[in-house]
């Protein structure tokens, strides 16, 4: 861990923006990292490290760029972790086991019928599994644009590639995803 940067407290206006980013993007960052790492606990650490880094470098980051900056940092942290693990990870494989209190699937409502609940859970598990099966580059584009709703430009900044590349990868990811969840699609 690097030593602390000697920085002053950000001004109140910037701190308002920081708190707002915290409220709006912390969950998204955790979800993004969880789907890259397959580990919800590590994903929360990644999200926190990203916000810590933002605080330390807040004077260099325009307020409007907080979101792609945070995702970029989270991506770097995730790739660093994946590289360190040195083996193929299966995303989500252990997710439900280690994070039973934070399910990805919607919380079941009391009014829902048990068979519908079971069906929804099964469908969501199939969707998560389909995302897991996407190749890494396609998955990144898919997670950023389709799941998190980033623009192509922001996703390009996060992934460090041209906008056109994001567009192409997203298209391929969608086509692949469609084939993987075809049984759930009723046109």
């Amino acid at each position: 861990m690097a030593t602390a940067n000697a920085q002053n407290e950000p001004d109140p206006v910037t701190m308002v923006a920081y708190h707002r980013a915290l409220a709006e993007h912390a969950d998204s960052l955790k979800a993004y990292a969880a789907r890259l790492l397959g580990d919800a606990i590590a994903a929360e650490d990644v999200a926190q490290d990203a916000f810590l880094a933002l605080y330390r470098h807040i004077s260099q980051v325009p307020t409007a760029a907080f979101r792609p900056w945070l995702f970029r940092v989270a991506r770097n942290l995730c790739l660093d972790q994946l590289r360190r693990r040195k083996f193929k990870l299966s995303l989500f494989r252990d997710l439900q086991r280690v994070d039973d209190d934070q399910p990805f699937t919607p919380v079941d409502r009391a009014s829902d019928r048990p068979d519908e609940v079971a069906e929804t859970r099964e469908a969501n598990a199939a969707i998560e599994q389909a995302i897991e099966q996407l190749p890494m580059k396609f998955r990144e584009a898919f997670l950023l644009c389709e799941v998190e709703g980033l623009s192509y430009e922001d996703a390009a900044a996060v992934m460090g590639c041209p906008v056109k590349t994001v567009s192409t990868r997203l298209f391929r990811a969608r086509a692949r995803f469609q084939s993987l969840v075809s049984r759930l699609i009723k046109v």
Binding site: K30, Q48, L77, P103, N124, P135, S167, V187
Partner: protein, 360 residues
């Protein structure tokens, strides 16, 4: 309108990335073209499915912990600004390293004491009698025909065939070790698991190519057997690496003897050069671990590694990247030739390693 391009534009259309006029044209095409219309409907449906997913939430102490870390003066984690090295760059580094290693070996051979005649010295003496025979008078041995001269570009069908060949061999080895374990020889267990892992890796690659319609299986029974084996062996890697896992998962996965003959049942699809490159780049980028299991770098633009001079003509392939050409040979070919030839590792008096090959 080309339907493939139409699909791409429909994807952009979903994100509002097309100008109004183009959007209208693409949607009009989708309305009149059944496959594109179906694709458009599925795109929208798939997006709705994704939007139904629930986001996990950060823990209730997320903020407190964060601000406690900030207050304690904790700095930015080092990995935050670390740019990951792309896999292709790593491959380039590997090739450069191989070239450097070849140069070092050549230099070691050149200057090793007691080495009275270097490779190629006889040829040089015969072709130019006036050339003084000395370390600095002759050029370093460069690319060696006919092995290098006869090379073809490395194509994806070679990758597929080599993966299938490796799978056959690893299956045989795993099955043999399995029989030993079942006969009471527990020491063969690591061999079973190691070869089963390789069967899994090569099978996964072949099935990926199959899913991408890059190859076909000419026998219909092979594909389900292979899918079953890959799925179960993949599961087995997450369990304990013990006898129980072997009996419960590895042994059933390797039950089909058809897996010993996968190489005879694959038919790679003809691809154009750009598609070939796409497959190869994807392989090296996404599975940097598997390429070295399939091909061994035997030389670069600096010359052929002497250690691989025993390879037959036509068994080396050219692999071009940003650093220039490299030559690779299928691992199965290298290993089979190593069975015919043996390496002699000789150490000279000053400890410099010399590597030669000699017939058995």
């Amino acid at each position: 309108m080309n339907c493939n391009h139409s699909h791409y534009e429909l994807s952009q259309c979903l994100d509002g990335r097309l100008p109004a006029g183009r959007r209208a044209a693409v949607l009009q095409h989708a309305a009149n073209c059944a496959p594109c219309g179906a694709f458009w409907g599925e795109l929208q449906q798939a997006q709705q499915l994704v939007q139904r997913l629930r986001q996990p939430r950060v823990g209730s102490d997320f903020r407190e912990t964060l601000f406690a870390r900030i207050a304690s003066g904790e700095g930015t984690p080092e990995a935050v600004f670390h740019e990951p090295v792309p896999a292709l760059t790593k491959v380039r580094y590997a090739f450069t390293g191989a070239a450097a290693a070849a140069a070092v070996i050549a230099a070691a051979l050149w200057f090793a004491p007691g080495q009275t005649q270097r490779p190629g010295a006889q040829v040089a003496a015969a072709t130019n009698a006036t050339t003084p025979v000395g370390p600095r008078a002759e050029p370093l041995p460069s690319v060696q025909p006919p092995l290098i001269a006869a090379t073809q570009p490395l194509g994806f069908h070679l990758v597929a065939r080599e993966a299938a060949r490796q799978l056959d061999q690893r299956y045989d080895a795993a099955a043999a070790a399995l029989r030993r374990v079942e006969g009471g020889d527990a020491k063969a267990l690591p061999t079973v698991l190691e070869n089963a892992d390789e069967v899994h890796a090569f099978g996964e690659l072949l099935l990926d190519l199959r899913d991408r319609k890059r190859l076909l299986f000419t026998e219909s029974e092979i594909e389900p057997d292979l899918r079953f084996a890959v799925r179960v062996l993949g599961e087995s890697q997450r369990g304990r690496r013990d006898l129980q896992t072997m009996q419960a998962m590895v042994a059933p996965a390797l039950r089909s003897s058809r897996l010993a003959a996968v190489s005879r049942t694959i038919a790679p699809v003809q691809l154009d050069r750009s598609e070939e490159m796409e497959v190869l780049q994807r392989l090296t980028a996404q599975r940097p671990d598997i390429f070295p299991k399939l091909f061994i770098v035997i030389g670069s633009s600096g010359g052929l590694d002497d250690d691989f001079a025993m390879l037959r003509s036509g068994t080396a392939f050219r692999f071009d990247d940003d650093c220039g050409p490299s030559w690779v040979a299928p691992r199965s070919e290298v290993e089979s030739r190593e069975g015919v030839w043996r390496r002699v590792f000789d150490r000279s008096q000053n400890g410099a390693a010399k590597v030669r090959v000699a017939p058995k």
